[in-house]
């Protein structure tokens, strides 16, 4: 029993790293643009399909293929922000951005159905099915590689945010958009690039998700609701919070899964509700100065 729990904790941490990557993109977008990108889930699935096409049709290795899918997803993100989200202003912006990103999700989902049909797919590679035996734990290679890649990318995003001029502009915009604009930051450029980066990470998340789960165009809904729960639990806009919440939630789910696979995901959402009753701003959230 104890053995199983330890294994579940290790699994939870490894999978949590990958979820953290997708959640960081979502929370970054929220922090800068003050919107929730409902399309994030289906964008992850789109990333998975891109990897699928590259590996099945062109026989490009999953990790090598990221060199193509990451820039592609970045461009998709920039276009979404530039064409639609940028235009929304005013009191109903919260709801409107939600609807716009949801509409984008519907269009992407429908197009994926048209292109690939409803059958479940899974990405395959030699390292997807084999695993290494360390200290009595079975660790599939794909989880190890994915976790390592997630750590590297999140570290990269941290470095970008805290060590570069662009990062300073992003953080300034997150803190106070008006003030940032007043001191000469091009906030709309910051918003567009942030949206691009937030969506670009879904290429990596999608590849990992597609290698470790079977997916179809409809899989985005389950994913987005988990990601939303994670970023709310971590505190909206907080990258550290997204990391902590991903690992916490996925570990919890993975441990509960030993006893009751059916209820594991309910525990996931119940944890969200319980935490928010005690602490409405999440683990690391700042209380808003004056919520509207």
């Amino acid at each position: 029993m104890a053995r199983q729990v330890y294994q579940a904790v290790v699994d939870g941490i490894l999978v949590g790293g990958v979820y953290a990557l997708m959640a960081v993109g979502l929370t970054l977008i929220f922090g800068v643009l003050d919107i929730i990108n409902i399309a994030q889930g289906v964008l992850v699935i789109l990333g998975a399909y891109l990897s699928y096409v590259l590996s099945v049709r062109l026989h490009i290795d999953l990790f090598v293929g990221l060199a193509i899918t990451v820039p592609a997803m970045f461009v998709i993100g920039v276009v979404l922000q530039w064409a639609f989200i940028r235009r929304l202003r005013g009191r109903e912006r919260t709801a409107m951005t939600l609807l716009v990103t949801y509409a984008a999700a519907l269009i992407i989902e429908g197009s994926l159905y048209e292109a690939f049909g409803p059958d479940y797919k899974q990405l395959s590679a030699p390292y997807v099915t084999s695993s290494v035996h360390v200290l009595g734990f079975y660790l599939p290679y794909i989880y190890l590689y994915g976790f390592a890649l997630a750590v590297v990318i999140i570290a990269g995003i941290y470095a970008l945010l805290y060590r570069t001029r662009f990062g300073r502009s992003v953080r300034a915009t997150t803190q106070d958009e008006t003030a940032a604009r007043l001191i000469g930051i091009d906030t709309s450029r910051v918003a567009t690039l942030t949206f691009g980066i937030g969506v670009a990470v879904t290429a990596v998340g999608g590849m990992m998700f597609g290698a470790t789960n079977s997916f179809n165009p409809n899989s985005g809904y389950d994913l987005i609701s988990r990601l939303l729960a994670i970023i709310i639990l971590g505190g909206l806009g907080s990258i550290g919070g997204a990391l902590a919440a991903s690992v916490f939630m996925l570990t919890l789910e993975s441990v509960v899964d030993i006893w009751s696979p059916q209820w594991a995901i309910a525990v996931f959402y119940a944890a969200l509700v319980v935490v928010l009753v005690v602490r409405p701003t999440g683990f690391f959230g700042r209380a808003p100065a004056r919520a509207q």
Binding site: F84, R87, L99, A103, A105, I107, Y113, Q292
Partner: protein, 350 residues
């Protein structure tokens, strides 16, 4: 000035009378079950969207979890009919149970979710929605699992079946619209809109924000639960993905925004346009994906070209048409007055 108002009142009353006449005679003119089917679904959505609007549209708390109440109402009626062996027309007596279950769920749900605002509130409603869908799947001894629950048999032919359900749904829709209009005019409705505009200030002025929000949430949930029961009896079955459908949540919000959030006629118009269009697209393109893409494209078009919905935008167009060609009013105060008066009138008739 008085003359215009009276004339507007009369015009509105006439329009309402024509609409009511059209609604009542619709199944008599188009008696084919395929056509009345559109009417039943449209009216179910008129009720559900108006119910959503009374809470979310007035208070500004966007709920993406209305399917919790819709599905629970459907399941409540279905399970009660199954376990208490209710058969025949008596099942309609169970509809108030759907409403009661909806309200009973809304109170604890609201006590947790209404503590947070904006995005966090939206996400909590989504999370609660998924918990309910999962419960419908997993509590299989109670809900029938993925097989779901079936309604008792009603000994009517296809034509009478649809026609009777049409009038039941019409009754629900009319009652809901009257409730919405009543709430909008009342002190309660004013408190809700004060919360939407600035909750902290509303509290400062003595609005018991939590009590008001919770009451509106429970009211909205009760009606949604009731109409969920009607939907279940009409469809004669419910499964977890159809009762607790994420597309339902989003369609309701889309319809409200399409027509105009916070108005009375906006949600009605949105539901009457979008639901039949959606049914038609699904029936025409049987693979369903095309209709999904078109729905998404419609969404984007609405948001980009009519960001405040049909009713407020159309109101502005009418005001602009009426004032066109008139000489400019000299005083600044007078220049501002007709426009705000026009807006207020558009808001009132809406």
């Amino acid at each position: 000035m008085m003359g215009t108002v009276t004339r507007q009142r009369i015009a509105a009353a006439l329009a309402l009378a024509v609409l009511a006449g059209a609604a009542v005679t619709f199944p008599l003119v188009f008696s084919s079950p395929a056509t009345t089917n559109y009417g039943v679904y449209a009216l179910i959505f008129v009720t559900a969207v108006s119910a959503w609007n009374v809470f979310s549209g007035f208070s500004g708390y966007i709920s993406l979890g209305q399917a919790v109440f819709f599905g629970s109402g459907a399941y409540a009626v279905g399970i009660a009919a199954r376990d208490w062996h209710v058969s025949g027309v008596a099942v309609f007596g169970l509809l108030p149970l759907g409403a009661a279950v909806g309200a009973a769920i809304a109170v604890p749900f609201g006590l947790v979710a209404l503590r947070v605002r904006r995005h966090t509130f939206i996400v909590i409603t989504i999370a609660v929605f998924f918990i309910f869908q999962l419960m419908a799947y997993n509590l299989s001894s109670f809900t029938g699992g993925s097989v779901g629950v079936s309604a008792p048999f009603l000994p009517w032919t296809a034509t009478t079946f649809n026609e009777r359900f049409y009038y039941i749904a019409l009754a629900c829709a009319v009652v809901m619209i009257v409730i919405a209009a009543g709430v909008r005019r009342s002190r309660f409705g004013l408190q809700l809109r004060a919360i939407r505009d600035d909750e902290d200030r509303a509290r400062g002025l003595g609005v018991h924000a939590m009590r008001v929000k919770l009451a509106a949430f429970a009211l909205s949930a009760a009606v949604t639960g009731l109409v969920g029961g009607v939907w279940f009896l009409y469809l004669t079955q419910v499964q977890p993905p159809s009762g607790f459908d994420p597309l339902f949540d989003l369609s309701v919000v889309l319809m409200a925004f399409f027509g105009g959030v916070g108005t009375i006629s906006g949600p009605v118009l949105g539901a009457l346009i979008i639901e039949p269009a959606q049914l038609y697209l699904t029936a025409t393109y049987t693979n369903g994906y095309i209709s999904e893409i078109m729905l998404g494209a419609l969404f984007l078009a609405v948001v980009l070209f009519m960001p405040r919905g049909i009713i407020p935008t159309a109101g502005e167009w009418i005001t602009r048409l009426r004032t066109r060609g008139r000489p400019a009013v000299p005083a600044a105060a007078a220049a501002a007055a007709p426009q705000s008066a026009g807006k207020a009138a558009a808001g009132d008739t809406a």
